[in-house]
């Protein structure tokens, strides 16, 4: 006796959250059944393994059929085929678009192309996340990217509107899309200590201040691409380190203000020129795509690592950066105050976030 066909269709589509999780995690039906057995569900319910198998198959089939709709969440809301209460719909969507920290760190900033997709095998082995789940997450990234790529308006809003995600998740996706679009390097060894949250934080600041959308909200792609003009203008900041007088003046202003307030004052004083040179050079190089990609590597190399090696506490870093950016306003010979604020305001936020072990 073999079961040829075995289905259950409810007027309200039954969603088992546990099975959904297993499905999202990419387990095969067999593995999912084994995991469910291990969870002790048989003892709790008095069911048999066969029942569990049939139940799991059924849920998997349902999810498989829902997947098509999950690719365009508004469709899930308007479709008539599956009657699902709104709270459940939200749960389905949110969980489907949720991703693993380990996975996103692997692909963050990479081009969402076929080539990357081929690497998913390696990522899967490395992270221990099933290939199937990796594919889903990768495809989600790519799908969101494709949809919002050439849209007007706020990136977060666009993601939210077209994928009906929670605010939190929409922000994460905005970061992922932004990183993918600008191809920021995040995979280098020295960046490994950074979490996705760190990058997402930076991305949000950059989207708010450095993109076209920051100055003009009527442009396509406004939140995706960095403001080219702004990057070009950043060259003007060169003077801060190129002009010896300006640099000395800047240093003395910062040192005067911070004397006695900083635990690492002497180290700061010794390193000021190096740090300042590093930060300004990062700005001036941003006209080259290659250097844009290396932004985070540079920041870590030029600023985070030197400070860390001198054991600056975070509070000192904050005091320094505040004073460092503010003092520029007192430099009479420097004309690009607004530009400096646009640059440094964001960079300060990013650096503070990046500064941890």
């Amino acid at each position: 006796m073999t079961s040829e066909l075995d289905i259950f269709v409810g007027n309200t589509t039954l969603i088992d959250e546990d099975v959904y999780r297993l499905w999202l995690d990419g387990y095969s039906v067999g593995d999912a059944v084994a995991l469910r057995v291990r969870s002790g569900i048989l003892e709790q319910t008095g069911a048999t393994a066969a029942v569990l198998q049939s139940d799991t198959m059924d849920h998997y089939r349902t999810f498989h059929m829902l997947e098509r709709l999950l690719h365009a969440p508004p469709k899930l809301l308007h479709q008539l085929i599956y009657q699902i209460p709104p709270s459940r719909q939200a749960l389905l969507i949110e969980r489907y678009y949720a991703f693993d920290e380990a996975f996103v760190r692997e692909v963050l900033g990479k081009k969402l192309s076929k080539g990357t997709k081929k690497d998913l095998d390696d990522i899967s082995t490395k992270t221990g996340i099933t290939l199937k789940s990796c594919r889903r997450q990768f495809d989600n990234f790519k799908r969101v990217f494709k949809v919002v790529e050439e849209m007007r308006g706020s990136l977060v809003d666009n993601v939210q509107q077209h994928f009906l995600l929670s605010d939190r998740l929409a922000r994460d996706y905005a970061a992922i899309v932004f990183f993918a679009n600008n191809r920021f390097e995040t995979g280098k060894k020295k960046l490994q200590y950074l979490s996705f949250g760190d990058f997402a934080f930076c991305a949000e600041l950059m989207i708010q201040n450095w993109t076209l959308g920051a100055v003009d909200s009527q442009v396509d792609d406004m939140d995706m691409d960095l403001d080219k003009e702004f990057l070009q203008d950043l060259k003007e900041l060169k003077v801060l380190v190129a002009d010896k007088d300006l640099l000395d003046l800047h240093k003395s202003l910062v040192c005067t203000a911070l004397r006695g307030k900083l635990g690492v004052f002497s180290e700061m004083e010794a390193n000021f020129k190096n740090l300042s040179r590093g930060l300004v050079n990062v700005a001036t190089k941003l006209t080259h795509n290659k250097d844009v990609r290396d932004l985070f590597v540079d920041l870590v190399e030029k600023f985070v690592e030197p400070c860390r090696s001198d054991h600056w506490p975070l509070s000192d870093v904050r005091l320094f950066l505040n004073q460092y950016s503010a003092s520029v306003h007192s430099l009479d010979g420097f004309r690009h105050q607004a530009l400096w604020d646009r640059y440094m305001g964001t960079l300060r936020g990013c650096l503070l976030r990046l500064y941890h072990d």
């Binding site: 066909l5 007027n11 069911a47 049939s54 139940d55 059924d58 059929m65 479709q79």
Partner: protein
Amino acid sequence: MPGKLKVKIVAGRHLPVMDRASDLTDAFVEVKFGNTTFKTDVYPKSLNPQWNSEWFKFEVDDEDLQDEPLQITVLDHDTYSANDAIGKVYIDIDPLLYSEAATVISGWFPIYDTIHGIRGEINVVVKVDLFNDLNRFRQSSCGVKFFCTTSIPKCYRAVIIHGFVEELVVNEDPEYQWIDRIRTPRASNEARQRLISLMSGELQRKIGLKVLEMRGNAVVGYLQCFDLEGESGLVVRAIGTACTLDKLSSPAAFLPACNSPSKEMKEIPFNEDPNPNTHSSGPSTPLKNQTYSFSPSKSYSRQSSSSDTDLSLTPKTAPYPQGPRIYLCPSSPSLSCGSLHLKKSCLLLSESSLPPHHSSLVSPVLRKSVSFSEELFLAASGMGSGSAGKEGGPFKALLRQQTQSALEQRGGSPHRFCRRREFPFFTLTAFPPGFLVHVGGVVSARSVKLLDRIHNPDEPETRDAWWAEIRQEIKSHAKALGCHAVVGYSESTSICEEVCILSASGTAAVLNPRFLQDGTVEGCLEQRLEENLPAGCGFCHIPYDELNMPFPAHLTYCYNCRKQKVPDVLFTTIDLPTDATVIGKGCLIQARLCRLKKKAQAEANATAISNLLPFMEYEVHTQLMNKLKLKGMNALFGLRIQITVGENMLMGLASATGVYLAALPTPGGIQIAGKTPNDGSYEQHISHMQKKINDTIAKNKELYEINPPEISEEIIGSPIPEPRQRSRLLRSQSESSDEVTELDLSHGKKDAFVLEIDDTDAMEDVHSLLTDVPPPSGFYSCNTEIMPGINNWTSEIQMFTSVRVIRLSSLNLTNHALNKNFNDLCENLLKSLYFKLRSMIPCCLCHVNFTVSLPEDELIQVTVTAVAITFDKNQALQTTKAHVEKSLQRASTDNEELLQFPLELCSDSLPSHPFPPAKEHLESASSNSGIPAAQRDRCSSWIELIKLKAQTIRRGSIKTTVTVEKTSPMGEGNFRNRSAAPCANSTVGVVKMTPLSFIPGAKITKYLGIINMFFIRETTSLREEGGVSGFLHAFIAEVFAMVRAHVAALGGNAVVSYIMKQCVFMENPNKNQAQCLINVSGDAVVFARESELEVVSTQQPAANCQPACTGGEVTT
């Protein structure tokens, strides 16, 4: 030109990409009705086109309006090649034709394609302007309401229940036409869908005409089925119960009604003998002696008010205290000979029938000597199958003739059958209180037929004759049970190749004629001697004469009123009456059986099947009985026995809900007897088994809370002092009958069902009895509308359909292995359901409906549709008494919905005792000792009553037209409200679906019309669609979606009495193909949640009702 149909195509959404190059679609729409077609403009390059068309107007006959569906086709415009069809929407506009239902159909409909499934949605608005047609010879029956619900719909009141209506239409199946060889599968499927839609429209119209002829205005319990007879054609048939319904306008006039129905329940046929026979047990007890016989003197003119009665008064002498017997009148060819091939029934007859000794019988009592009920309905149904027309040898044909003549001779009045109400059948399963007087037992008939091509579709005589034959059979069975009507009636077929089994079954019953059309019947019954029967047990009392029992049953005095005789078990096809006193909870009981059959052709095949049928029925019955006893229960409701025929096997599946009726005696246990007594270890084994069985019974009693009050023998009084008589039922020696069941029919508490174990197979059978696992705690299941013992439903419901197909390995095809496989299949399916729905605990699976089919040689398909309803556990812990009271309250609230003319009759009504609690009934009995005098008064005035009633009816009909006018603008308003709401939030509105006739925690405010849909889905890429499971899963989900969309478009938010009547699945994995046909129906309704306030207010009248009832009691 009595109607104008107006259609507007608004927009489309989620259309599929039809042009690969642009990833877009250039869509336009064709709107077709009858032979007229309109087109919208092409809306280029969009998947969400906005056509916003003008109103397309069709001017059509109302006959066409009823028959034709509106056909909407969405196409993709192609400049160079033929336009590609995206899909279709068929809209049944019938709901727009009766003014009380929907006024407009407007909403998003899934665009359906038989190959691709649902492909986007289309927004359509449909309206009908209907002009009044005064043509008396019209062919249409617009305005007749149809309900699938098998009870009086909630917001209506039955003025008259006219009775049975049936019709069938036949046609050639497009799938088998020559043209099918050259057309695409899509075209063929669409031709079929359209044809069936047309045929069911036509059928409904024809039934409507019959209803109008009967002066009714509605069909309740409408059941339409398709028989796919393959080569020989397509049959669409329907049965239903014609009624005159009155919409309940205001909830006023509640209270007075609540005591009248209970009065009716107490009505007992009047016995002309003023001194009811004294009985040893209680001389003061008026013993009911109902004998229905047919006086030859009855006139048969149609006008005569008396001719239709099946009941007459027969003077009777006191019954002799002797055992059950059956009178065989020499003048009537007895049908007992018709079952010669059935050893068991013959044995039974010969043992229990005695020569007639009743000299005082005036009219020749002609009875069909075999009929069935509790113990033996199998015998008769077996006989039914034996009477198969074609395949039987000349001998059987002769018998058949005799049967026919017997039927015609009966009562000397063949003309009686010519009456309008030819068959006193009712498809209802739940009744207004007081409607059901007594229940006799299950009657069923089967017949095996060979299909041949239907030569002339306009003359479906053969099929008509087949059904007429079966119905006649049912009717006579009912008569043998002393009943004049059959309730809970249904018909079904099972077809395999050219063999077809026609089945019909129902419950023989005595009805209160108050609701029936015929005044005469009422006349007779009105004169019946009034007796005091507490509610809740009246229907259990035997309707047949205890001396003339049509089968040997074991009677005792009713455990509730102790006045009337009741059988020891009761099987019925109806729902549990709301006023029945039940102890504990009920449970689903199933009997499952397979029988191998040799493959054969035509006649030989039919003969083989009809030879097997009686054994199957017998075994199914035995299984049911054993399981019932094992549960410690004594009655079955909602019994449905399905016999399915396949190439090489027959399957039997019986489902019913077991309950413990307080009025019936406590069931005896099951005893096991070994055949080889000298083996010590064997004995030990037997006693071990016995212990297990006893344990199970005890456990079940605990599980279902069955704890009947102990009644000492003295109170019950010594039952009928009959000599201990044993009748033995021997199963004939078919190779498969492995155990011999001995029915000990002697009375007494100790009697037990004895299972004799004589070989290992029998042992296995006993084992299998014990393998039925009870549902996990917190779960209950039943196949009736409501679960006895649970009444505190919460609003959470989940309707579902589950389908399983198993492939049998051809190696182990023995009856036994087959039975085990089938049993496992059903049990596993139930277990899966319990597991899946575990989050709803505590909950009850209601209306569990199993359907078995045998699509291929080694495939068994089981389809289950049911609804899971959660209930409040805390309230569920109430005592039995509490929920008896509750059910009484419920009954009285139900009464409120019935109101009026009982109301008028009430003033001069008989001394009535609505629902006297059991303890009080003795007093009330004594208080009513002076009845006969009052009774005589009544007799003289009953003519006045009829006049009064006639007036009321006339008034009632006037009222109907008034409500019609009133409701339509209201409906309009309703619609506006509704359409405004979805605009605000664009999410899809929830549509509930349930096989029940009600929605827990809500009130149905409006019936919008019947939903009756037929879909075909086919695929040539089975693997790509997820295999058979993926294919069918998606299809069923789509069917649900289309039903919901139609309901929502009508302005409804639920489907009640939903049923999946057919789910025919065929696959050909080698060709990567599969096809499935599904037919569903139900009633679209609008329901409103009962707010807290409403709950309070409904409880208020219920509470008031009780004092009012007692008040009535005092005045008498």
